[in-house]
Each structure stands twice: as structure tokens, then as C-alpha cells.
Amino acid sequence: MSFFHFINCIALSFAPYFIVYKYSGINEYSSIWKCATASGGYLLTQLAKLLILATFFPDLDGEGFAILPEFLKSSADIIDVIGLHLLMTNFLAGKGEVRFVVGGLGWGFAHSIAHRLVLLWVGARGTAFTWRWIQTSLNSSADLMVIVSLACLTWMITRSQNKVIISPVLAMCVFSTFVYQTVQHSFSLYGWPLLAFRFVYSIATAALTVIVYSANRTTNARKNE
């Protein structure tokens, strides 16, 4: 990877977060410090998740892919929901929309740093050209959509009567990693097709979230009447 390629990949992975922060109007309602708080929350939650994984699934790190153990393992991702909930109710302030977008952004940024920066940094050593780094970087935008949706749904699920609609979409978000892995292994998708699937899945999740969100808002509005 040349230096230029490295810069390209970094821009591709992290610039979307800045663009969203800067231009979606969030910066008018919240400071960047709140995003940093969200990132801190992410790190603490991951720590808790790791501890739980190490305690309850100690020897699942074998090679190969089996659906059930993977499912059990990814159910630890529910901790994310709890962490996000605690974060948004206790550490972020402002309107609901602002809270979950800020929470989601900070969370997603920390997630992206943890998953990509080291990888790119290490990968920069190789001189061979591979699309892998571009693909990894593009994944970051897909993750952004899923994570903001996750934050939004987490916010809503404690504040809405209509839990029946929200919970399946929330499950879609929480188990997204599991879905990716399953699809990857059962259809042996790699590279661009997998990336395309991730994007389709994330866009679908995001769209469903928007629908659920607006439906929820309408009911809320009706209730106010």
C-alpha cells in the first residue's frame, strides 16, 4: 500500500463520520465532546462484552463456522444495546433525535477506529495492491448506518408502547455481524459481493428504522392530541 493509498483508505473510513457530524445539523445541537463521551462509552461496553464472552464462551474460538455457537456468541452484542441505553439516558443531553445521532456517531466512530485503523496501519506495510483495504474502508459507511439505526431504535424501545414493531428491527441491527458471517460462510461471499450485501442490508435496516421512527412519531403526535 502506498502512502497515497493509505490516505485514500483513511479518508474513506473516517471522513463519513465527520461529514455526518458537520453537515447533518448535529453540530448545531451538540458539542463534539459528547461524541467523545459516546466513544468512551463504546470502549467500556466492549470491555464488558469481552469479559462476558471470555466468561461464558471460553472455548468457542475454534476454527470453522457453526451457526449455533456463533449465534450464541453474537447474542453478547445485546450488551451494546444496554451500553447505548445507559449512555444516552445518563451521559448525553438534549432532544431525543440529537441524543441518538450523537450517541450513534461517537459509538460508530470508536467502532471504526477499533476495527479499521490498526488493520490499515498494519496493512500499509504490504506493497501489493489489493482491493481489500478499500472494501474495509467502505464497510465503515455501512456500519455507520447500522449503528445510528441501533442507537435510534434503542432510544425508542424504552420510550414507545409499540415495542412489537421496534424489536425486530432492533434485532436486525444487533445481529448484523452474525448475519454477515452467516451469509459469508453459507454462500461463500467474499470481496465485493459481500460488501454489496452489507450495504444492501445496512440500507434496508436504515430504511426500516426511518419507517419505524416516523410511525412512532405519528402515534406520539396522535397521543398528544
Binding site: 474513506l12 453537515y23 489489493t130 459507511s141 470481496g191 465485493w192 454489496a196 405519528t218 398528544n224
Partner: protein, 573 residues
């Protein structure tokens, strides 16, 4: 609200975004799936050595150049080619290039070459043996990775049919860069290959010495791949087996023949017999006194009766040749040995071949080193001429060894030498030619088939060029421990003079597909486009959020207005 969502999806930016993604997937997905971008393989370097100030072979071992096809001769490139191409193309001007590298793929299984290919391969070897170049020349066995590398290189060499395609190719075409990844240090001055000497002593001060000599190192155009099974693996095996067979006679004082026997495995044979020269120098110096038995050095007044050098005796070529500097006189040990050999195996063609020794050029046979110092010596070989290409060939593989023939020859030499040192009559027990009987000092299984097979596996099946320090050290220590079972063994380091071996015989090459630097610009443009799209989507998002507020506001105010209106109505009516 729903309308807004539908509006969001109607947004042209989103469509743009989707199409961009799709095109990227379609365009790049097809060629990238399962495509390996980086492969690593072992490559073996062309020989490099120096004798009397003359450099031979390839003078470089570092590679970090872009791969091109053989036709595109250019500085600072790796010419990648298959071995047949080297034969069919005129490559003489390529060797004259000052920087760059050559990578030649040879068949991965040399045992399975047919006769025509074998001949062609020998031609290639002769070509490579005569090469003197500044390029780093490597040879690697052909495999799937090699096929894909060759394919890439050749398709790049073809001219694109139209200008546009040419542009696209130069923008995004794969190029392969080949880099040598092992940092192997050059041989240090402290590295001394070792002569291994085994000794069977008669215990008598006055007895003469017969020396068996074989050099154990291998060489060829590509030393890293040639196991040198016949030259001189067969010699190494023969000496070990002779030591094993003859040691039986030295076990008890009553059967001990009145000759000292020396078995000398010499180093650097392909470097103008460095080990032999070193040993002769040491021998002629000698030491006085009685501690010679433990020192590995002989007494000053010890005399060599005959040095029998053995090289390439494991192949069926229709005869066994005794090479000598001049025709030996009637009563000399060499002449007696020749007569005995002929008497023992009347069916075998055993001939004397003489070749005048040149003092100025490198020795062609090992015995010449002895002759130069006025010591009687001959070489036994199945090869009729020292210039036989089989002596320095990669194709000198263990599979070409004829074990039966090797055992036969070992037995023949053992019998002849035994007859000589025990002073048996030359023509057998009876001088009457009418009496025919098989007479043998050795039992039928004295030359052990299993043992010979094992020795071949251990000593004649792996490359052991003098430049490869590890291989040389391993073969000498194995030799020493194998010989120690039958006699006294000594080792002595050889100082190489007037010649030089070079260390890097093999290397790990890494072939990587890289894109031209301009391609990064294309990607940067793509990234910029993507981020722009993202920017528009975010703006849309902002509108969505702001609209939500407005929506809330309007519903709220609507409610207020409606409430007011209804209140007014109530109050009126």
C-alpha cells in the same frame, strides 16, 4: 411523513450513490475474486564463483524490480520467462545489461522429462554455465503461481489494440513486482569447509599409504537445485562403503594388511579441488614424533603409494575408465591396479585414459592435484571424458543412479585394492589360463545393498554446494559420524586460496501485483466522489431532521389552532 420518506428515496443523489456502488461491484468484482495478490516462492540462484580472479556466473542476488517479459529488455526490470523461451530466443545481449534480474521457470519435476526435453534442458544448462552477468539470475520450479505470473507478464507485453484500451491498461493494469525477501549474509572469511579423513592404520611404521579420495560438494549452473547424485554423490558413497568393507580386515592384528588406508572426503572439489590441494599441503608438511595417531596428521616420512580418486561411478556408461596424467610404468601401483581390475572383471570394459596435466589452468580431474605434487594418483570414473556435461548437471538426480552398477563398481575396486595390498597374485590363484574359477576375497554380501541405499539417501540426494554453509556443515558432520563407525576420523578446515565461493544459493522471492502510481489518483477521485455523495446524503438527512422538527411544530401549532378554533366555537355556540 411517508411522503418525505418516499421523497428521500426519490432523491437523485441516492440513485447516483446506488449506481456508483453497483458499477464498482460489477466492474471490479469479476477479476478480483480469488485472485492472489501476493505469492512467495523459493528460487535458486545461478552459480557464482571465482577462480584465479575470473568471475563466473551471476554477480548479484538482490531483486526488487518490476516484472517484464523476455522481449522487453530494460534496465532495472525482472525478465520473467520459461526455460523454453530462453532456448528459443537470442538472449546474449540480455546478459550484458548492468542492473536487473532474470527469473526462469524450469519444470517442477525434472525426473519426468522426456528425452527431447532432457536434451533441450542440457542445452539450457550449457548456456547458463557460460553466462557471466551483472544481473541477478534465479531459477524457480514451475507451478500455478508461476503460470499466473507468466500470464500477467505476457499479456502486459502484448500491445493493446486501441489507444483507449492502451490508456486503460496503463492506468489500471496490474504490474508485478518481484522482490527477494531473505537477507542472507555473504560467506564470512571464517567459514571453512571441512575435509573429512578416515584412517585405517596397519600399525607398522614403514608401511605405505593408499588414499581414496572423493570430493563431496556439488555444483551446476544452479547449485541450489542439483543434488549431484553421481558427481560426486556416488564417490562419497563408494568411499564410505569401501571403508566399511575394508575396515573388517583391520579389525584384528592378524589380518591387518601392511598398508595404511586413508579415505578423504574433500571440500570444494568444484572450486579447483581446494580440499584436495589443502590436504596434500598438510600431508607433505607432516609432523615428526609419535603423536600423529591422534592428531589426524601423518608422519613426515609417510609416503603415498597411490591415491585413487573416485568420481561418478554410479551410472551405466559401458565401462570404467582410469584417468591418469600419463601411462603408468609397468610396476607402478596404478598399472598393477589396472591389471587387477581387468582380471577381476573380464566382462567389463576397463580402460586407461591419459590426459596431459596443465599447470596453468584449473585441474579437470582430482588426481591432477596429486600429480602436480609428484604423487602417484589416478581417477576412476564411468565418464570417458572430464568435459562430460553430466558432471555439472542439474539432471544428475538420484533417480539416474544405477544402484546395481554402483555396487558392482565398489566391489570391483575393493577386490582389486585388497588383492594389491595383500600381495595376492595378479592373475588369480593359478597362472594357468585353462583353469577358470571365481576367486574372491570378499563374501557375496560384503558390499551391503541396504547400506549403500541408505548412504545414497543420506549423502547423494541433497544439494551440497560449497557456498551453502548449512548444507556443507550438515553433510560433513554426517559423513564424520558415519565414517567413525568404521575407522579413525579427523576433520580439518580448508582455506580456500585463489578461488572464492559465494553464499547465496537460494532465496525467497515475493511476487506482488501492484498498480501503477497513477491508479491511486483514480482511486482518490473515486473516494472524493463517494464522499461528495455522502455529503449530499447528509444534507438530505439534515433536511429530514429539520423537517421533523417543522412537522412536529406544525402539528403542534395545528393542534393549538384547531383547539383554539374549537374552543371559540364552543364559546360561541
Amino acid at each position: 411523513m411517508q411522503e418525505e420518506i418516499i421523497d428521500f428515496f426519490r432523491n437523485p443523489a441516492l440513485f447516483f450513490y446506488m449506481t456508483l456502488m453497483m458499477t464498482v461491484c460489477v466492474v471490479s468484482g469479476s477479476q478480483q475474486v480469488g485472485d492472489v495478490v501476493e505469492t512467495e516462492f523459493h528460487a535458486y540462484r545461478l552459480h557464482q564463483y571465482e577462480i584465479s580472479g575470473n568471475m563466473y556466473g551471476s554477480r548479484n542476488h538482490r531483486v526488487s524490480y518490476e516484472a517484464v517479459s523476455l522481449g522487453a529488455r530494460a534496465l532495472r526490470r525482472t525478465m520473467v520467462t520459461s526455460w523454453r523461451e530462453v532456448l528459443t530466443h537470442d538472449v546474449d545481449d540480455m546478459w550484458a545489461l548492468s542492473t536487473g534480474a532474470v527469473l526462469i521457470f524450469i519444470p517442477d519435476n525434472l525426473d519426468e522429462l522426456n528425452d527431447i526435453d532432457r536434451k533441450a534442458f542440457l542445452d539450457l544448462e550449457t548456456k547458463l554455465l557460460n553466462v557471466r552477468t551483472d544481473l541477478a539470475v534465479y531459477v524457480a520450479p514451475y507451478n500455478d503461481d508461476a503460470a499466473s505470473i507468466l500470464n500477467d507478464v505476457n499479456s502486459r507485453a502484448e500491445k493493446a489494440p486501441s489507444a483507449l484500451q492502451h490508456l486503460i491498461q496503463s492506468l489500471s493494469g496490474n504490474t508485478i513486482s518481484i522482490t527477494s525477501s531473505d537477507q542472507i549474509p555473504e560467506l564470512t572469511d571464517s567459514y571453512k569447509p571441512v575435509n573429512v579423513v578416515g584412517r585405517l592404520s596397519s600399525g607398522d611404521r614403514a608401511s605405505l599409504t593408499i588414499a581414496f579420495v572423493a570430493h563431496y560438494d556439488t555444483s551446476s549452473a544452479v547449485p541450489g537445485v542439483s543434488p549431484g547424485a553421481d558427481s560426486n554423490g556416488s564417490g562419497v558413497v563408494a568411499l564410505l562403503e569401501l571403508l566399511a568393507v575394508l575396515s573388517k580386515f583391520y579389525d584384528s592384528p592378524s589380518t591387518r594388511p601392511p598398508y595404511n588406508l586413508l579415505f578423504i572426503w574433500t571440500a570444494g572439489g568444484k572450486l579447483n579441488y581446494q580440499g584436495t590441494r589443502h590436504w596434500i599441503d598438510e600431508f607433505q608438511k607432516g609432523i615428526e614424533g609419535s603423536e600423529f595417531l591422534d592428531s589426524g596428521v601423518n608422519r613426515k616420512d609417510d609416503r603415498i603409494d597411490l591415491a585413487i580418486c573416485i568420481e561418478s561411478i554410479g551410472r551405466k556408461t559401458g565401462g570404467l575408465y582410469m584417468h591418469a596424467g600419463k601411462t603408468p610404468s609397468e610396476n607402478s601401483a596404478a598399472a598393477q591396479l589396472l591389471r587387477r581390475l581387468n582380471n577381476i572383471a573380464p566382462n567389463k570394459k576397463i580402460e586407461l585414459v591419459t590426459k596431459k596435466i596443465s599447470l596453468t589452468t584449473a585441474s579437470v580431474w582430482e588426481h591432477e592435484k596429486f600429480n602436480i605434487k609428484r604423487m602417484p594418483a589416478v581417477t576412476l570414473s564411468t565418464l570417458p571424458s572430464p568435459t562430460d556435461p553430466a558432471r555439472n548437471s542439474i539432471l544428475d538426480l538420484p533417480s539416474t543412479l544405477d544402484e546395481e552398477e554402483l555396487i558392482d563398481n565398489i566391489r570391483l575396486i575393493a577386490e582389486a585394492v585388497l588383492g594389491y595390498i595383500l600381495g595376492l597374485p595378479e592373475t588369480g590363484p593359478s597362472s594357468d589360463s585353462r583353469i577358470k574359477s571365481e576367486v574372491s576375497m570378499l563374501s557375496k554380501d560384503a558390499v551391503d545393498k541396504q547400506r549403500v541405499h541408505h548412504f545414497i539417501r543420506q549423502f547423494a540426494s541433497r544439494p551440497r554446494p560449497v557456498g551453502d554453509q548449512k548444507a556443507t556443515e550438515s553433510v560433513t558432520s554426517n559423513l564424520a559420524s558415519a565414517a567413525a563407525g568404521y575407522g579413525q576420523v579427523f576433520k580439518s578446515g580448508v582455506t580456500i586460496t585463489d578461488a572464492k565461493a559465494f553464499g547465496v544459493t537460494q532465496n525467497r522471492l515475493v511476487a506482488e501485483r501492484v498498480k501503477p502510481a497513477v491508479f491511486e489518483l483514480v482511486i482518490a477521485a473515486g473516494v472524493f466522489g463517494y464522499l461528495t455523495v455522502f455529503y449530499y446524503v447528509s444534507l438530505q438527512n439534515r433536511q429530514l431532521i429539520v423537517n421533523n422538527f417543522l412537522f412536529q411544530l406544525t402539528t403542534h401549532s395545528q393542534n393549538t389552532i384547531e383547539g383554539t378554533v374549537s374552543a371559540i366555537r364552543k364559546s360561541i355556540f
